[in-house]
């Protein structure tokens, strides 16, 4: 009985999975809002460089951020 109720509950919740689906493709001509500077992952390029420098110095390694380096922590 309990199993059956559980099964029914699962079945009832199944449509919720639809919420995980993609809202559809964003076409090339619909990317106006995505093109705004505020939508970029890295806002200020100078700030980003600074943060990366501190990070690699702290971690005692360099590289892995698109910059070549041997991991000696000297640059």
């Amino acid at each position: 009985m309990k199993n059956k109720a559980m099964g029914l509950l699962m079945l009832a919740l199944l449509p919720w999975l639809g919420a995980c689906s993609s809202p559809g493709q964003v076409h090339a001509w619909e990317k106006g809002k995505l093109a705004k500077p505020g939508m970029a992952f890295d806002g200020d390029p100078l700030d980003l460089r600074f943060v990366q420098h501190i990070y690699t110095s702290k971690e005692n390694s360099s590289g892995g951020q698109g910059v070549g380096g041997g991991g000696c922590g000297c640059n």
Binding site: H27, A28, W29, E30, K31, G32, A35, K36
Partner: protein
């Protein structure tokens, strides 16, 4: 059961093929459009007998800014030889397009498609995309993006289309 899987496979294949085939390709007839311009409505068939450089652009697109002076230059240089540069704006708000045009004036035909119907029918994948259309309405060349070092190649395509 076998039939079920066979049908499923056909459906999946058809979907995949449908997606890849859905694009304007060289040699095809360019899809017709009917859009509002700066003065009146314009159809693609209005340009029959002219070579059309159809450019899809948006106010938020960086390379589009660089392409405008070049397109002005092309229209000025080859207009008398039968070239018509036509810019299709795809901004949802025409105000944004007008603001762009104040700082980047266009001396060529401008059309506005806030609904995105035309870029959809041309299956535009990137901004800007240009489609070179011959006098008989067939697609001669499709190009995505606009970089400085592509100017010469694009001009060569235009010259070839005009048989210069």
């Amino acid at each position: 059961m076998k039939l079920f899987f066979a049908r499923g496979a056909v459906l999946v294949l058809a979907t995949l093929l449908g997606l890849s085939a859905w694009a304007v390709e060289v040699g095809e007839t360019a899809p017709e459009f009917d859009l509002s311009g700066r003065l009146a409505a314009v159809k693609l068939s209005d340009y029959k007998g002219k070579t059309v450089y159809l450019d899809f652009w948006a106010s938020w697109c960086g390379p589009c800014k660089q392409s405008f002076p070049w397109m002005n230059e092309m229209q000025a240089r080859y207009g008398a030889k039968g070239l018509r540069v036509v810019g299709v704006n795809v901004d949802q708000k025409t105000d944004a397009a007008n603001a762009f045009l104040r700082s980047h004036p266009a001396n060529f035909e401008l059309l506005f498609d806030p609904t995105g119907k035309t870029p959809k029918s041309y299956a535009i994948k990137a901004m800007p995309t240009s489609v070179l259309i011959g006098p008989d309405g067939t697609v001669l060349h499709v190009h995505s993006g606009f970089k400085d070092d592509e100017r010469a190649m694009l001009e060569q395509q235009i010259k070839q289309a005009l048989r210069l």
